[in-house]
């Protein structure tokens, strides 16, 4: 029977507090930097770092380094201050809240890249010691692998740590030795502290995240891909080759199990158990309640079991074991590096991205003029197959 209060209750339901907005509460323009900044400003706070990551790398590929800096700085403040109790993280661990409710800082390979890109920006600004600090922090982000063989095993991070140290007159031998030992794809070039032009090279599409398992509770990675296998750089009459030294898919997939994976597995067990228990209670309750006459003890027990079963099913339904698949989705697959000594002045640089057969991909070849103005300050060129 419809009561007079019903319309009021429906009204209350619909009017709810409007603090939580739909995910997309901003106008998309199609420009990734404008949209990224809008997402940072108006999107959920928990996704702020994710958008800062994505937007910063687009800005760098456009050569808008001043745009990228504050985005990465803000992201790194969150990343560096994530210690201790965190309400969102606690909620993400609870049975009834999804992992994706936590503040996004990314998996270790994503955290590494935030420091890596910031290091490039510091080097561009001539702050080699701060660049080195970022390479070191990046390597620390990769240090907590389950299998220690894969702990802090980025070739370029150690190599660039060594190069920066050598440029500042320090002893780079340990870092360079580690870099050589870690080299799996190819060995980085000889460290030349007197080089003054540096090419930070990246290409391909990085790994993607997806969730699998009965309740999507297991985080997995789709391998990245790249038709580009290396880069050839022609400067004046010299030719440099930048082979891949680090592979982000390798880094994403060798981290091992997360603590959060165990928590999600427990959530999945709870969801499954409460569902099964609910089914059993509802079926048993229905049988008991249906076989006896009204107001019998079995009838009351049956109704009780039915109610318990429904409650158990509700608990099961609201348990959210799904893994967080938010990802820094515009990362490259491979990282590389090259360096050269050039005299002050303007130089023409041609960058060719080579396929597996060593043939240049015509649509990616570009020639730019670089100005080596001060011998005291390095010239840093950021090369990406997604440069715009």
């Amino acid at each position: 029977m419809k009561t007079p209060a019903s319309p009021f209750l429906i009204g209350v339901l619909l009017v709810g507090c409007a603090t939580t907005q739909p995910v997309s509460s901003w106008q998309r323009t199609g420009d990734p930097i404008v949209d990224g900044k809008a997402a940072i400003e108006h999107g959920p706070k928990r996704d702020r770092v994710l958008w800062e990551y994505r937007t910063a790398v687009v800005a760098m590929r456009r050569g808008q380094f001043a745009e990228a800096k504050p985005l990465l700085d803000d992201a790194l403040v969150t990343l560096g201050g994530i210690y201790g109790p965190d309400k969102d993280a606690r909620r993400a661990r609870s049975y009834f809240s999804a992992e994706a409710k936590k503040t996004f800082i990314g998996e270790p390979y994503e955290r590494v890249m935030a420091y890596y890109y910031r290091a490039i920006l510091y080097w561009i600004d001539g702050e080699v010691d701060n660049a080195r600090a970022c390479f070191r922090s990046a390597q620390i982000m990769d240090s907590d692998a389950e299998n220690k063989t894969y702990s802090s095993d980025y070739v370029l991070l150690d190599y660039l740590d060594g190069l920066a140290t050598a440029k500042m007159g320090g002893d780079a031998s340990d870092a360079l030795k580690r870099a050589a030992a870690e080299a799996r794809l190819s060995r980085p070039p000889e460290c030349d502290p007197k080089a003054n032009v540096f090419f930070f090279v990246e290409f391909g599409n990085g790994p993607r995240k997806y969730a699998t398992g009965e309740y999507a509770e297991q985080l997995r990675f789709l391998p990245g891909n790249s038709i580009v296998r290396s880069v050839r750089i022609r400067v004046d009459n010299q030719t440099l080759r930048a082979d891949p030294y680090d592979d982000l898919t390798f880094q994403a997939t060798t981290r091992g199990g997360r603590v959060m994976d165990h928590i999600l597995a427990n959530k999945a067990v709870f969801k499954s158990a409460t569902d099964t228990a609910g089914n059993a209670a509802i079926i048993s309750g229905a049988i008991l309640a249906g076989q006896q006459g009204r107001h019998s003890v079995a009838d009351e027990v049956g109704v009780g079991l039915l109610a318990a079963g429904v409650v158990s099913k509700i608990f099961s339904a609201v348990t959210t074991p799904a893994a967080d698949t938010r990802a820094w989705d515009n990362l490259p697959q491979y990282l590389s590096f090259a360096s050269i000594r050039l005299p002050p002045g303007t130089h023409s640089v041609t960058v060719e991205f080579l396929d597996a057969g060593g043939n240049p991909l015509a649509n990616l070849t570009s020639t730019v003029a670089i100005n080596v103005s001060e011998p005291a300050r390095d010239t840093v060129i950021f090369v990406s197959d997604k440069n715009q």
């Binding site: 209750l9 209350v12 339901l13 709810g16 507090c17 409007a18 603090t19 939580t20 706070k45 560096g80 201050g81 994530i82 210690y83 201790g84 109790p85 965190d86 309400k87 969102d88 993280a89 606690r90 993400a92 661990r93 992992e99 409710k101 936590k102 800082i105 910031r118 510091y122 702050e127 010691d129 701060n130 660049a131 080195r132 600090a133 970022c134 070191r136 922090s137 620390i140 240090s143 907590d144 500042m168 320090g170 997360r258 603590v259 959060m260 928590i263």
Partner: protein
């Protein structure tokens, strides 16, 4: 029904925001990491400036020694504006030492040379002979180094930072004063991030 109609802001952390909290620079804030923070800067530079003033070369000097700042070397894993350390030491010494030590504005040399050249060319007035070299040379260099050790495993992250500073005699290269401070911090992020 009352449960179901609850305010949706229960899903939002601090929906009303948090007011600005003014804190002392030497106070540990509620936003903290294991890196170099303002309370470390204050503690380290306070200690160093007190220590420098106790140095016989400064304390017993007949004429205020002239000091030039040489940039601090950052060997830690933390990108920082390292000049802040020497800036704060310089300001503390200038404000508390009552002229016992004098610093040169070497970071302003370009502007100073330009002004001198304007005076020499007669484009601006000069209260003394602009052709006489009056830029002072240094008696001492004040410099420092920041180094760190980091451990990170399933039980958390530990960062130890060693802050060392030196006063180097510009004539002899002798280190006439040296002191250090060390700070170790540890933290463990929520399991949701591990």
């Amino acid at each position: 029904m009352a449960i179901l109609t609850g305010c949706a802001s229960s899903g939002v952390k601090n929906p009303s925001g948090i007011g600005v909290t003014e804190m002392r620079a030497d106070e540990k804030g509620f936003v903290a990491g294991t890196g170099v923070e303002s309370q470390d800067l204050v503690a380290v530079t306070d200690k160093m400036s007190r220590s420098i003033l106790d140095t016989p070369q400064i304390k017993s000097a007949h004429n205020p020694p002239v000091v030039v700042l040489d940039p601090v070397v950052n060997e830690t894993r933390f990108p920082i504006n390292k000049d802040m350390f020497l800036t704060r030491i310089r300001v503390l010494l200038n404000s508390k030492s009552f002229g016992k030590v004098q610093f040169l504005a070497r970071d302003r040399m370009a502007a100073l040379e330009k002004e001198r050249d304007l005076k020499r060319s007669g484009q601006v007035t000069s209260s003394s002979d602009p052709n006489v070299v009056e830029f002072k040379g240094a008696d001492f260099f004040l410099t420092g180094k920041l180094q760190s050790l980091t451990t990170r495993n399933s039980r958390g992250t530990s960062d130890y930072v060693l802050y060392s500073f030196q006063l180097v005699d510009a004539r002899t290269s002798a280190i006439v004063w040296e002191d250090f401070a060390e700070i170790k911090k540890q933290g463990l992020e929520d399991a949701a991030y591990r």
